[in-house]
């Protein structure tokens, strides 16, 4: 089990745009380097990606939550 950690403080979004589908659903598979969320900090948007491939078992934050740098965002099993 590995976790994906926030690379910067900000607000986490699980989808690229408000109407869009999520980057990945819980239980979905992810490839190494695949984007799983966006972090917005002061109008800058940064993609958060998984470092390894596997199954994203669950998100540890809600869509729109404020997070600090290094905070665990999601669990990846693989």
């Amino acid at each position: 089990m590995a976790t994906i950690k926030a690379t910067m403080p900000g607000v986490v979004y699980r989808r690229p745009a408000p109407e869009a589908a999520p980057y990945v659903e819980e239980g979905g598979t992810v490839a190494s380097g695949q984007t799983v969320a966006l972090i917005e900090v002061m109008k800058n948007f940064n993609e958060l990606s998984s470092e390894r491939e596997g199954t994203l078992t669950r998100f540890l934050v809600e869509d729109g939550d404020e997070v600090s740098i290094g905070q665990e965002i999601a669990e990846v099993d693989g």
């Binding site: 900000g10 002061m42 109008k43 800058n44 404020e66």
Partner: protein
């Protein structure tokens, strides 16, 4: 219209506080609005009343027109001041405010719509005999672009007609690059704006960004309040501004200010607005765009003219005439504004939210600080990164810069990174001292420092 008694300040941070103060100076009540994150802010405490408008994200608060209109209604406001950013240049918001029977402290909705459309604004400038950057109209296809490009001349820019805020702009150095850049630019424009119409514009190398402050009322008065120099910018975000521009002489100043007032009069402007120009090294100036609102850097103009621009906004919005005529506006000295942002200049200008554990502000003769924060406040990730504007006035440019250097050395910011060290370096640079910069200078200078 009638007099205003109670103004809803539909913004946050230092500009909200600036408007609250202007209302109080005019004997008008001010109603602040706040999101969850801004609940205990200074501008909220200093207002006469405050309304919670929603969650922290901008879409749920400061960009939520329904919530703002409801806040105006529930608080008994009879006017709305939009500040800058957010909904300040939304023609639809201005229209809805008016339709709700409230005074919009800004330009008329149709004027906002016209000047917000790049092609329409350019056409308005041409009608008003204001020089525009040599360029094409909207281009239907690649062949049209290839035929037109030689007449405009290289280097040039491919721009998306529907673009804005610096987005959808691509440079082309020579004819060989054009087909490839065109294809990319059109695909990008289609994806970003849902419209792949592009046009070509000459790229003015080494140009300066000079803008003119205008004021207009409903009684036929249109005046300028001189110019500002805003060439020191990174990714089209200004970092250091001054008034007047050190790069133009009296003759050019006369021409550029006359052009700005001509355009404002031509479009039936009302309120405070800014006409932006690019000034080429040969002294030719070209219309860039018009901002139909108060600007971040308006204090430098206030410092060198003594004109209270927000007070004039309130006055003309309530139907009154401007308090001054053109002959009453004179330049006195020089002013510089440093934008202190919660960004780390040593780490790619990464924004750094956090708690302002220390926030010591400078003072002394000629120093004005506009900020919405006090020590202990949290700088949240939800909004832009500006935490303070250091505005420094002197009897001449040399004294203004010297005071700016002293002010920035007194400034103490801890808990978040800030652009303070960058400003210290900028003020020491020969390019800023001698005002030899242009719009691409800061990014070149930063790349050489790395």
């Amino acid at each position: 219209m009638g007099g205003m008694r109670r103004v809803l300040v539909a913004n946050r941070g230092e500009i909200a506080l600036r408007v609250v103060r202007a209302c109080h100076a005019a004997g008008i009540e001010a109603v602040a609005v706040y999101s969850d994150a801004d609940r205990d802010s200074r501008w909220v405490r200093l207002a006469d009343d405050a309304v919670h408008i929603g969650a922290s994200s901008v879409a749920k608060s400061y960009l939520n027109a329904d919530a703002l209109l409801e806040a105006a209604r529930s608080s008994g406001a009879d006017a709305v001041h939009p500040g800058y950013g957010f909904l300040s240049e939304s023609a639809e918001f201005a229209r809805r405010v008016s339709e709700a029977g409230l005074v919009f402290v800004g330009a008329p909705s149709p004027v906002i719509a016209r000047m917000g459309d790049k092609a329409a604004a350019r056409a308005a400038a041409e009608e008003a005999r204001v020089p525009v950057i040599p360029g094409s109209g909207p281009l239907a296809d690649e062949n049209a672009a290839l035929e037109t490009a030689p007449d405009i001349g290289y280097p040039l820019l491919v721009k998306a007609s529907a673009g804005g805020g610096g987005k959808g702009i691509r440079p082309v150095r020579g004819a060989g690059e054009l087909p490839g850049v065109l294809a990319t630019a059109r695909a990008e424009a289609r994806a970003s704006f849902g419209d792949d119409t592009v046009y070509l514009e000459r790229s003015l190398e080494g140009a300066r960004h000079v803008e003119v402050q205008v004021l207009a009322d409903d009684h036929g008065n249109v005046i300028h309040v001189f110019d500002r120099e805003c060439s020191v910018q990174r990714r089209r975000q200004k970092l250091l501004e001054e008034a007047p521009s050190p790069g133009i002489g009296p003759k050019l100043r006369g021409e550029i200010t006359a052009a700005a007032t001509r355009l404002a009069a031509h479009v039936g402007y009302r309120g405070a607005g800014t006409v932006e120009f690019l000034v080429a090294p040969n002294g030719e100036f070209h219309f860039l765009e018009m901002n139909t609102r108060i600007q971040v850097e308006h204090p430098v103009t206030e410092c060198v003219t003594g004109v209270d621009l927000v007070a004039e906004q309130l006055r003309v919005a309530s139907g009154g005439p401007l308090a001054l005529r053109q002959e009453d506006v004179a330049l006195d000295g020089s002013a510089v504004e440093l934008r202190i942002n919660a960004e780390d200049p040593d780490n790619g200008f990464m924004p750094t939210p956090g708690e302002l554990t220390r926030f010591d502000l400078p003072g002394g003769p000629g120093i004005r600080i506009d900020t919405g924060f006090v020590p202990g406040d949290r700088i949240t990730p939800f909004y832009d990164s500006m935490i303070a504007k250091l505005v420094c006035w002197g009897t001449d440019r040399e004294q203004a810069l010297a005071r700016a250097g002293q002010a920035v050395s007194e400034l103490g910011v801890e808990g978040v990174a800030s652009t303070r060290p960058l400003h210290e370096a900028l003020l020491a640079s020969p390019e800023v001292r001698k005002a030899t910069f242009h719009t691409a200078w800061l990014e070149e200078w930063l790349s050489h420092r790395e």
